[in-house]
């Protein structure tokens, strides 16, 4: 029992420790594709360190929401990390506290507060970004729902630990049309929710074109560090759900001792690195979509997820 609690906390530590690294590697690889050297992969850590030591300025016209939001944004992914398989393939202590839907709602709570905080200040760019994020969010919502419905339809459960076993036992299930189409739909969702390139440009500095970034424009110092770190952890957690639950449930610890769990850390990081390579390929080869094309992009994701559902019905 105490071991399971320990492993669960270890998952949280891994998410907190390696989320900035994934962002750093992603940024570095993107620069390398563009024939630039790029910042060190440890730059996000330095940024966080610097921000934590800076003064924080809070507008006196803002309400409690503005001050409260960084903590929600920071804590939401940590909660989700307790629910999902980050390192182990067997359920841990808190695993049955909530299913994938629950995890989705907790992540959405962080997004909701970030939106409120962006509207809270009088910064003109905040509400633009907030309303755009909501637009992307409500277009992504049906895709999320259909993906979860299909998953629960196939696996008979929405607990991620049960779902991940379903796709690979027997191995032929890996090639089931519902699985492959779900993976495609979820990949598009990650691009939209993570603010990656066909939907949003994470490295853009032009306020009028920002979607995700403009919500944290008003933050400084510790608050900004928490927002940033929270965003990186949210991305890490989404990747973990994608890779460990939906795509490749391999490389996770199957046995209940510390050595196996510690060994799982490099394996999971290797998997993440492979996926980051794919992401770099996507980001470097596509252009950012115009705002009203995002509806079409997510419409395509929706159609893909429904096609997964239809294929599953047809096969059964």
């Amino acid at each position: 029992m105490s071991e399971r609690i320990l492993f669960n906390l270890l998952q949280v530590v891994v998410v907190m420790a390696f989320a900035p690294l994934v962002s750093g590697v992603l940024a570095r690889l993107k620069e390398m594709v563009q024939s630039k050297r790029g910042p060190s992969i440890f730059q996000p850590y330095r940024d966080l360190w610097k921000l934590f030591h800076k003064d924080e300025i809070v507008s006196e016209d803002s309400s409690w929401i503005f001050r409260f939001t960084p903590y929600v944004v920071f804590v939401a992914p940590i909660f989700v990390a307790l629910l999902i398989p980050v390192l182990t393939s067997y359920p841990l202590f808190f695993a049955f506290m909530g299913d994938m839907l629950g995890g989705g709602f907790v992540l959405a709570l962080g997004g909701f507060f970030a939106t409120l905080a962006a509207v809270d200040t009088a910064n003109p760019y905040g509400p633009i970004g907030a309303s755009r994020t909501r637009m992307v969010g409500f277009l992504a919502e049906p895709v999320f729902m259909i993906v979860f419905f299909t998953v629960s339809f196939v696996a008979g459960s929405t607990i991620p630990y049960i779902v991940q076993q379903k796709w690979v036992t027997p191995l032929a299930n890996f090639f089931a049309p519902s699985h492959v189409l779900l993976v495609l739909a979820f990949l598009m969702l990650i691009l939209a929710e993570g603010g990656r390139i066909p939907v949003d440009n994470p490295t853009g500095h032009f306020e009028l074109a920002m979607i995700d970034e403009s919500k944290s424009l008003e933050y400084s110092g510790r608050g900004f560090a928490l927002m940033k770190w929270g965003g990186q952890m949210k991305f890490f957690v989404l990747l973990c759900i994608f890779l460990n639950v939906l795509v490749t449930p391999w490389g996770l610890a199957g046995e209940q001792h510390l050595g196996a769990v510690l060994l799982a850390i490099p394996l999971v990081l290797l998997k993440l690195f492979c996926f980051v390579l794919v992401l770099v390929l996507i980001e470097s080869s596509l252009a950012k979509l115009r705002l009203f094309r995002i509806a079409e992009f997510l419409g395509a994701a929706f159609v893909t997820s429904v096609a997964a559902l239809i294929a599953q019905v047809f096969v059964a």
Partner: protein, 236 residues
């Protein structure tokens, strides 16, 4: 064949049909004529893959023949013919008109695909207990989506591709129902498709030469010249 292999083949076939359905949606919604053509090529390759996998499953030489004919005729000859016959201007244009906007068209397409299920299941049951798998319902969905493409597109090239996609859908359903058709029939169907491409291609070229555009959706009304102007032209 062991159980695991059979299941793997069935799943791969199901995957090919699932992706086939996705390409059918893509043909409805893509903006560029070139993208439309590429999706059609992918669709034909998936059809050939499905035929080959079913051939492996049922140990039927005819289905390998179908796969071969498909690989040669659709992904290779059809694009070549279109490049030769249709005006090159179609490929360079970036956006093409649609009657409905893309999200609406996609939602209707989804409804059609779900409706195909209710048509496909009785049909698949009528085939007999030996049949199972997604080929029949997804083939019918492909047929319906091809017909829908014909309804929403206003440009000659995607219209032709919609027609060919309908044929692909019918083929996908056909290979799982009638597995032992003589190869002659398959060849005849494949040639049919090519002749359709040829004729429509020539037609498109003629339309383009006469009207100056291939957006056939805009040719809905006759261009009548008022009688008064005719009289003016007659007596200068």
């Amino acid at each position: 064949m062991s159980d695991a292999t059979t299941q793997l083949i069935e799943n791969l076939n199901a995957l090919a049909t699932g992706l086939f359905l996705l390409t059918a949606f893509g043909i409805v919604a893509t903006r560029q004529a070139r993208g439309c053509l590429h999706l059609f090529i992918a669709q034909s390759l998936l059809l050939a893959a499905s035929a080959a996998l079913l051939g492996l499953h049922f140990d039927s030489g005819h289905l390998y023949g179908v796969a071969l004919v498909n690989v040669i005729s659709k992904p290779i000859i059809v694009p070549w013919l279109l490049r030769r016959i249709a005006p090159a201007e179609i490929y360079t244009r970036r956006e093409i008109d649609q009657v409905l906007n893309i999200p609406t068209a996609l939602i209707i397409a989804l409804a059609l695909a779900i409706g195909a299920y209710f048509l496909g299941v009785p049909l698949a049951n009528a085939v007999g207990p030996g049949y199972h798998g997604p080929n029949v319902p997804i083939g019918i969905a492909g047929l319906a989506l091809g017909a829908f493409t014909l309804a929403v597109r206003r440009e000659a090239m995607p219209l032709l591709i919609g027609l060919l996609a309908m044929e692909n859908g019918a083929f996908l359903a056909g290979i799982s129902i009638a597995r032992d058709l003589p190869i002659l029939v398959e060849l005849a169907i494949a040639t049919d498709g090519l002749i359709i491409v040829f004729i429509v291609g020539v037609l498109v070229r003629a339309v383009e030469q006469h009207v100056g555009t291939t957006a056939v959706g805009e040719l809905a009304s006759l261009k009548e010249v008022p009688a008064k102007r005719l009289a003016e032209e007659a007596a200068p």
